[in-house]
């Protein structure tokens, strides 16, 4: 499905800010002990020409800027893969999030 409300907001904001040619938004909250649909940990894969010439750090900052309000609020963790269309064409992979190790429940 298209995910919960936060997923839709993330999708909308990233689309507006970065005009991506490819966008994947993934709710990883179940991987961190939350119930499905918890919407606290997300992974996004953004393919956009706007990333051209920018360092990884600059690209990630653009993504964070677009999601500032969410990151200040319900979003606890955000994994970001930011590729240019050329990079995506030569290597279309969306690696999964690293395994959780229990977080602060330990």
């Amino acid at each position: 499905g298209s995910g919960g409300p936060l997923a839709r907001t993330i999708r909308a904001k990233l689309t507006a800010a970065l005009q991506p040619t490819h966008l994947e938004v993934r709710d990883d909250s179940p991987l961190h002990g939350g119930p499905p649909g918890a919407e606290t940990h997300f992974g996004v894969l953004v393919v956009s020409g706007r990333f051209s010439g920018l360092s990884l750090l600059q690209r990630h900052r653009l993504v964070h800027e677009a999601l500032q309000a969410e990151l200040a609020g319900p979003l606890h963790a955000l994994q970001v893969i930011a590729r240019t269309p050329q990079q995506w064409q030569s290597d279309p992979q969306n690696p999964p999030a690293p395994p959780c190790l229990g977080g602060s429940k330990r």
Binding site: H60, A72, L75, I81, L101
Partner: protein, 111 residues
């Protein structure tokens, strides 16, 4: 400030011996792959002021955070991508740290 204490400084959840978060663990594992065992790690779960302070300092919303030579490099995604594309080896070289992977490659070339 803490970020200049050492060439390699990591703000994470838990400790290198016992990371408490998958992303923080990924950073520890990547550094280990490169043979970097001597670095400063700060557990932000122990200190809420540090946790917020470091986010304000780098203007970066999440933990873990990696600093090389006092400069913010990124979180676990960026470190992983730098590891995969060879940039991390280069950055470590600039700090005078020889990545263990360079030696591993040399062994492969001899074969």
């Amino acid at each position: 400030r803490l970020v200049r204490e050492h060439p390699v400084v990591v703000f994470m959840k838990g400790s290198p011996a016992q990371p408490l978060c998958g992303f923080s663990n990924a950073v520890v594992q990547i550094l280990r792959l490169h043979g970097v065992e001597d670095y400063r790690a700060h557990d932000v779960l122990q200190d809420p002021d540090l946790r917020q302070g470091i986010k304000n300092y780098s203007n970066w919303p999440t933990i873990p955070q990696v600093y090389l030579n006092g400069e913010f490099v990124g979180g676990c995604d960026i470190l992983l991508q730098m590891h995969q594309n060879g940039d991390l080896v280069e950055e470590l070289k600039k700090l005078g740290i020889r990545s263990a992977l360079l030696d591993a490659e040399k062994d492969q070339e001899k074969k």
